[in-house]
Amino acid sequence: MKHSFTDYIYRSYRKRKVINAVMYVLLSIAVTLAIIPLLSVFGYVIVQGMPALNLEFFTGLPKPVGEIGGGMANALVGTCTLVLIASVVGVPWGIAVGLYLSEYGKDGRLSSIVRFCADMLASIPSIIVGLFVYALVVLPMKRFSALAGGLALGLLMIPTVSRTTEELLKMVPNHIREAGLALGLPRWKVILWIVLKGSRGPITTGIMLSIARIAGETAPLLFTAFNNRFWQSGLDQPISSLPVQIYTYAISPYDDWHRQAWAGAFVLVLLVFMINIITRLIFAATIRKRQES
């Protein structure tokens, strides 16, 4: 036996090592290519936005055309207001849909329709939702308003919140529900105070992520919340928001407005980034707590 079996093993091992190395390099290149656009967007926003940022940006109102300076205080408060209205609409609605899908509908015909619609709503261009609210609220009210904007954003939250709620409630083992029922509690109390309450940590995470997603939405606000150069005087009035303000300034011909648009973009990215980080920290903490127990 001149060319032994061991020889063959060694040769094939060398070959496999080469293939392994080539594949590893290819995958690394793919990852790098995917990260480059993300990092360059971040980097560019930081480079352009950071120097444009000053105290006036956070405290001042937009200045009239031609005057240098001013800030986006009203847009910052506006975005917070819109997110708040959106949450009031989207969170209970989304959780209710999720509860239905996981606890009541199960595998019924209606649930598969609802699930399909939720997925459709999640993938629908957000400007369509804006148009829908325009027809539903803005036209009858005959004006743009914070309420219309908040409603549009709230509708966009529903699919994310409902699917997260559904998935998380499905993770609660059935014997927990049975233990609740065996105590002589009506089903709805078991669902609300034992099943839902037990998953409130991870559901909060889902809500935060959906907030991070809608906080930067521009398109659905263009013809619902519109924009406002001043502090809004009521929820039935047009309201300013960071994304729309950035959009307005970015397409203007003035250098100072461009500067401010960058600052706004920087703040918006920072805001979304922070929501994501905080959410992850909360989630990590709940996971750790579960593992300890």
């Binding site: 927990i176 049975e178 065996a182 105590l183 002589g184 109390k189 940590g201 579960r290 127990s293």
Partner: protein, 252 residues
């Protein structure tokens, strides 16, 4: 001795499969009755019919009569929720409610039933935990999560949770099969105390356990009640040859 629970011609199905056939059985007040039999013989289904939990499973149904303190709980006008307050249950796997403290795990049944006065709740929690022989181990950590206890402690917590709403019957579905021998011994010891307060029906795979703790024993096979009687009689002089073969370990 009076029978607190009487079962008459109980049938149960999962879809088209019949899981229980014409079961009739009586349970005496302040006694421990063991239900034994091989896997899949309908033991668990049987006790789940007694608090009407069986019907919560999709496509599951039951028919027959179960009298609790003289009233048939299978009449259409009877609310299963009210029945379950009178007939508590402990499950095979310890299942304290996640993210509720030890205190809240025990108090939740009363709290959600509308009891608000904290003095009443405190009293009920302490009484139930003492009854479940867990008080001394948890009295300094009532506000730590229920899931932080050991497996054996969690199961006694679940017993305390069931006792807090003051049921007259306690159903136990293989309550020690997921526990170590020491925890098992503790729970067995506890049961002889518990039967002073409640009537106990326990499903068990462990025949030594049935012999040790129960007053009466019922032997189930393929959805039928083969034999039922005093535990000492079942284990020393079974009337049916299937019972004899099962308790001597020749099948099952």
């Amino acid at each position: 001795m009076s029978s607190v629970l009487v079962v008459r011609k109980l049938n149960a199905w999962f879809g088209h499969t019949q899981a229980l056939k014409e079961i009739s059985m009586e349970f005496e007040q302040n006694s421990v009755t063991a239900i034994i039999g091989p896997s899949g013989c309908g033991k668990s289904t049987f006790i789940r019919c007694m608090n009407r939990l069986h019907e919560e499973v999709p496509e599951a149904r039951a028919s027959g009569e179960v009298f609790l303190e003289g009233k048939n709980i299978y009449l259409p006008e009877v609310d299963p929720v009210a029945i379950r307050r009178k007939i508590g249950m402990v499950f095979q796997k310890p299942n304290p409610f996640p993210s509720l403290s030890v205190f809240d795990n025990v108090a939740v049944g009363l709290k959600l039933a509308g009891v608000k006065r904290s003095a009443v709740l405190k009293e009920a929690v302490e009484r139930s935990l003492i009854l479940a022989a867990l008080w001394d181990e948890v009295k300094d950590g009532l506000h730590s999560p229920g899931t932080s206890l050991s497996g054996g402690q969690q199961q006694r917590l679940c017993i305390a949770r069931a006792l807090a709403v003051e049921p007259s019957v306690l159903l136990m579905d293989e309550p020690t099969s997921a526990l170590d021998p020491i925890s098992t011994a503790k729970i067995e010891e506890l049961m002889t105390e518990l039967k002073k307060a409640v009537t106990i029906v326990i499903v068990t795979h462990n025949m030594q356990q049935a012999a040790r703790i129960s007053d009466k024993t019922g032997f189930f096979l393929l959805g039928e009640l083969i034999e039922c009687g005093d535990t000492s009689q079942i284990f020393t002089a079974p009337k049916d040859k299937h019972t004899e073969r099962y308790i001597t370990g020749r099948f099952g």
